[in-house]
Each structure stands twice: as C-alpha cells, then as structure tokens.
C-alpha cells in the first residue's frame, strides 16, 4: 500500500473517476450518438463522402485514438499531482 491517507485516496479516486466518466461520455457520443443521425448526415457530401458514412468509417475512429492518448496523459497528470506516479 502506498503512503496515501484514506482522504487522499478518496480524492485521487474521485478525480480518476471524473476523468473516466468524461471519456466514457465522449466514447458514447462517438460510438452511438452521432451515428443515430447517419441518414440525415448522409445528405451532406464532402469530397465525395456522405458525412454519415464518413463518420462511421473514419471520423469516430480518429476520435477513439485521440481519446486513448488523452486519457493516458491526463491520468499521468493526476498521478503526479497525488505523488502516486511510478518512479
């Protein structure tokens, strides 16, 4: 067990949870939310791509990559703030 007091442990977990829920929400938006509107978005065509098709084929994928790297760096900041980062 690291040297965290129960209060600090709770504060750490609250911050971590908040980050988790934020990213989970964005994950939901890009996995499901925007695709509900695919038939409507498909009416907008950019560079030959119907937008609804594009979002499911590529747009959301870019968002997933960004979310994973963002989570990694944001969580590192929280770890350092509480002094629980490794080494």
């Amino acid at each position: 067990m690291a040297t965290l007091t129960p209060e600090k442990q709770n504060a750490y977990w609250r911050k971590t949870s908040r980050l988790m829920w934020t990213i989970l929400f964005l994950w939901f938006v890009f996995s499901f939310g925007i695709h509900f509107f695919a038939p409507a978005l498909n009416k907008i065509v950019i560079a030959g791509f119907p937008l609804g098709f594009y979002m499911a084929a590529q747009g959301s994928l870019i968002a997933f990559v960004v979310l994973c790297f963002w989570n990694s760096s944001a969580q590192n900041k929280i770890d350092e703030e509480f002094g629980v980062a490794e080494e």
Binding site: A2, Q9, S31, A38, N42
Partner: protein
C-alpha cells in the same frame, strides 16, 4: 536472448532490429516483383511469401525459447509500450479484420461499418476501465484476477470456462482463415492446408510462450500492415493520382453511386440502416447498435487482449500502450472502407457485364477454393450479370489485387499479410487458453506444488492439444469467419466484462454476486446463441418468435450484459460486504505506485 531471459540490450536495439527486418521484407517483395517481370512463375511467388514469412516467425519463436515462468507467461514484463502496441495490433487484427472485414463492407455497405466501429472503440473501454488496473494487479492471467478478487477457485473456474468458450470459438475462425490462405497459395487441399497452418502457429508459440508470441507478433504486424496498405495505395495512386486512399475513395463512392443506378441496385452502398430493398429498416437499425456495443465490450473482455497489458514494465506504460495499440489498429481499420470501395468499383466496372468466356484467370483460381466464388450464366446470354456473380466476403481482400489486375506479387504480399494476421491472433488465443488451463486449472486448482519445469511442460502439452482440436473443428467449416469471431466477442462480453469492471470500480461487489452474475450473463448469451443457431424451430416453439427483438445471434451479449450487471449488483447488495482486506486490495490496485495489498484471503 538464448539464455531464456530478455536482456536490456535487446530491448534497446529493438528499433534497429525491426527497422532492418521491415526493410528486408520490403526488399524481398521488390526482388520478387522484379523476378516476376522476367518470368518467375506465380506458383513460386506464392510459395516464397508463405514459406519465407512462416520461416521468419519460426526463427523468432525458436530464438525466444525460455524456461522462465515470467518470460513464458508475461514476456518478462519488459515490453515497451510502442512495441506492445504493435504486438497487440497483430494479436487483435485477425483473419476477420484482414481477410473478411473489407469483404463484409463490400457486401453490406454502411450497415457493415458496425464492425469497423465495434472493433476500434472498445480500446477506449480497455484504457479507462481495465488495462492499468489489471497491470497493477500484476499476475499472469485474467482468471487470476477473478480468483483473487472473488476469493477462490469458483470464480476462477467460471472465468476459465468463459475464456475457453470465447477463445476457442475465435481460434477456430482463425484456423479456418489460415486454411483458406494456405490452400489457395500453396495449391493444396483445404483440410491439409489447415494442418500446415497449424504447424506455423505452434512453432511460434510453443517454445517461448508469451515472450516468443510478443516478438513474432511485432514482426507479423509489420508484414500485415504493409500488405494491407500497399494494394489500396497503389489503386488510389493509379486511379486518382494521390497515394492517400482514405481521402480519394470518396470519388470511388461517387462512381459506385452512379453505377448502382445504371445496374439497378436498390440498396446504395452508403445508405444507413437500410434493408435489401433500400428502405429504412428498424431491424437493421437495432442490430447495428447491438453489434457495435457487443464488439466494443467484447474487446474489453477478451483475455488474449487484456493479457497483453500484463507485459508492460509498469502501469503508466500499460496506459500508453493502449494508445499505441489503437493507433496501429486504426491504420488498418480506417483504410478498410477504401479497400471495399475500390474492390466494388472494380467489380462493377470490369467484371459485371463482361463475356463469361473471357473472364480472367483469377476467377478460375478462386473458384477452386471451397466454393467461395461462383459464376453461373443463369440466363444463358454469355454475359455476366450482377446476380450471377456470387463472391464470398472471405475472399474479397485476397482476390482484389487479381481482380484489379495488379502484378501477382501483390497477391502474394496480401496472402502473407492475411496469414500473418491469422497466425498472430491464433497464437495469442492459443496462449490465452493454454495459460488458463495450465496456470489456473492445473497449478492453482489441481497441483499447487508443481515445479516450474513441470508447469511449463504441462503448458506446452496443453498448447499442442488445444491447437489440434481447433484445427479439427475448423476442418468441418462450421460457419463464416466473421460470424464465428463475433460470437466469440459476445461470449466474452457477457461472461467477463461485468465481473472485471465491477471488481475494480465498485468495492461492494461480492464474490457470490460476481459468480452468479457471470453464470447468468454468460448462460443467457450461450443459450440464445445455440438455440437460434442450431435449434431455431424449438426456439420459435418456446418463444413464438424467431429472434428476440430481431437481434441476430452475433450480438447475443446484448441480453447477457445487462443480466450480468444486474444480477451482480442485486446479489452483491443482498450478501455481506467484502472484508476490509479485500477493500484494501481494491484500493491498492487502483493507484499505480506501491505494492498490491494481498489480504489474507486474497493470498493463496
């Protein structure tokens, strides 16, 4: 590396080693391309690709042999995040992603994008919910976590059962894919080809376990990504003058839309949630979401993926490694829709409406592989109509270079890529199953006093045994690759997601709650899958419908997931809360630094 322990100098020179290897592979491909121009026969090219790449994997596998437990189970926990990302990419992208997915997009259009979304977004769940905490926990297998967190072998055993069912279904699909590739490119029968492929799988994993699989998977990733990107970039450049297919295939989509009108196709490629008549369909709509959810949650539950994050040096690297994993996977996935669009355009432009007698050689070549391509002149006019051209989704990617008239060397390259994808995933799965049986069942449940040498021998015997059974089952051609793989995801999602996530994120989760949750979630999923697949008449008799809410059985976890969470939650609240030791244990898993607090009960 020969000592059986991974040395620091090896880790430091990884960039040089794999850089040289990638360069060598590209050089080899160019050499074959030149030889093809001066008359090297196609058969030799096919052999060269298949034999040489398997040879390299085997070489790495043999170099990485080990008798150290932590090397065998978790590659010594020294794999840098970047390389673990590549290895995970290969582990993840299987015959389904490489061979079948673009084919699914070709046939299904927008509705098949559920696979593209579902097989990428799950990594966000892995990153935020599981990977760092499982890494901190720091044992060897996923059932290990269940066994400790839920205090005993009942939970451990349930975990092993789910792991086995999901991974075994998955591995059968991979062996099937290996059979298709080797049979086509070595010109041998499908049943024999499966066992040739099997030898390729075993030689990578048997001697070195996770260590060997890790370093071959990195090599396999390099081959598979080059093989996937080259033909698409080639077509994009020759057709539209820009080597970025992800941007240019919009034009292909437009051309397809025009041809669809001339050919009288009622279901446009890009239209969302439409049925075969081109009308909006609630069934397609519901199934799309169900599939996306099941595949994503399945990603975050499949033990062969989760155990890759046991191999990084620390928690921070585990998180970063998830980022690299999805990045490397993304490179293939966001190209797949372009692959499908180019293939469709080629077929619509250059195959349909042509004289059947004048069709090129590839039609002949592919018609011979297990009935995956059939051409029948139904109306006897000598011309090929769209309805007379039936192509199986599992061969679109493999045959596309030939369809588009690219040099045969590209076909050989794609075959090597498909093989790399199937072999790497098969190896990861095989290891997950064999490790669960040898570590969790044999060592933890049957003979806790077994010596290291004995444990490693048992692990290897099981590895070979499972591989042979998988090959035998694949020989019976139970179903299409992509369906089998989707079942595996549903099974894993229904059985493992709730106990893993709740075990970390809700301290109040009790052993009884988790065990009953697993049994009920997995049970209902398996029931739905088996009944609707093998006993549809009985199912209809019992429930009066063909499918519940029209949900296809590839998304069976849609019923299992909520039940698993619900049962775990309610039963946990009805039973006594976990002990103080257990709560301390969960606290210690949640923070990256410090020791894991093994409570008395947790410590076996």
């Amino acid at each position: 590396m020969a000592t059986g322990k991974t040395s620091a100098s090896f880790i430091n020179s990884l960039g040089k080693i794999y850089g040289g290897y990638a360069g060598g592979f590209v050089g080899f491909t160019i050499l074959l391309a030149i030889l093809e121009q001066v008359g090297l026969p196609q058969r030799v090219i096919g052999y060269a690709f298949v034999v040489l790449t398997i040879g390299v994997y085997a070489y790495i596998g043999i170099l990485s042999r080990t008798m150290e437990l932590s090397e065998y189970y978790v590659a010594g926990r020294v794999v840098p995040p970047f390389y673990n990302g590549m290895a995970t990419g290969a582990d993840w992208m299987s015959a389904a992603s490489f061979i079948s997915m673009a084919g699914g997009l070709y046939l299904g259009g927008y509705n098949a994008l559920g696979y593209v979304l579902g097989w990428t977004g799950g990594y966000v769940l892995v990153a935020i919910l599981l990977a760092p905490y499982l890494r901190k926990f720091g044992q060897y297998t996923v059932p290990d976590f269940l066994g400790v967190r839920y205090e005993g072998n009942v939970a451990r055993f349930c975990g092993v059962v789910v792991l086995f069912c999901a991974s075994f279904t998955y591995i059968v699909a991979q062996t099937f894919g290996i059979g298709i590739v080797t049979s086509r490119f070595l010109g041998i029968g499908f049943e024999v080809a499966i066992f040739v492929g099997l030898a390729g799988i075993l030689v990578c994993s048997m001697l070195g376990g996770m260590r060997a699989v890790t370093w071959t998977q990195v090599a396999q990733y390099i081959v598979l990504i080059i093989a996937y990107l080259v033909p698409v970039i080639w077509l994009s450049t020759t057709k539209y003058g820009l080597p970025i297919p992800e941007l240019t295939y919009g034009q292909a989509l437009q051309e397809i839309a025009k041809l669809e009108q001339t050919l009288g196709i009622v279901k446009p490629h890009t239209s969302a949630f439409t049925d075969a008549r081109g009308q909006f369909s609630w069934v397609e709509f519901n199934n799309f979401w169900a599939l996306v959810l099941c595949l994503m949650v399945g990603t975050a539950s499949l033990p062969h993926i989760l155990m890759r994050y046991f191999t990084t040096p620390n928690v921070r690297d585990a998180r970063k490694s998830v980022g690299w994993s999805i990045f490397f996977i993304f490179l293939l996935y966001f190209t797949a829709p372009a692959y499908a669009a180019f293939a469709k355009l080629e077929v619509y432009q250059d195959v349909i409406g042509k004289d059947i007698s004048a069709l090129p050689a590839w039609v002949q070549n592919w018609s011979q592989v297990g009935g995956l391509l059939s051409i029948k002149d139904a109306n006897g006019d000598g011309k090929l109509q769209l309805a007379e051209f039936i192509i199986n989704q599992d061969i679109i990617v493999l045959s596309m270079p030939e369809i588009a008239g690219l040099p045969y060397v590209i076909s050989g390259l794609v075959a090597a890529g498909g093989l790399a994808a199937a072999l790497s995933t098969a190896d990861g799965l095989l290891l997950a199953i064999a490790n669960a049986l040898s570590h969790d069942v044999y060592y933890k449940m049957i003979d806790p006093k077994a010596s290291t040498a004995r444990r490693l021998i048992v692990a290897r015997v099981l590895l070979v045994g499972v591989a042979i059974v998988a090959a035998a089952v694949a020989g019976t051609r139970p179903s299409g690759i992509i369906q089998m793989v989707a079942w595996a995801f549903s099974l894993a999602a229904a059985g493992l997601f709730a106990p893993l996530v709740m075990g970390i994120w809700w301290k109040r989760t009790t052993a009884t709650g988790a065990i009953l949750g697993m049994i009920s979630g997995f049970g209902i999923c398996l029931f739905y899958l088996i009944m609707t697949r093998y006993y549809p008449a009985t199912f209809k008799e019992w429930f009066g419908v063909d499918l519940w809410f029209g949900i296809r059985n590839i998304s069976s976890a849609l019923f299992g997931l909520p039940l698993a969470f619900g049962v775990t939650w309610i039963v946990s609240l009805m039973t006594a809360p976990p002990s103080k030791e257990m709560q301390d244990f969960v606290d210690s898993v949640r923070i990256p630094s410090g020791q894991v607090a093994w409570g008395e009960k947790a410590h076996e």
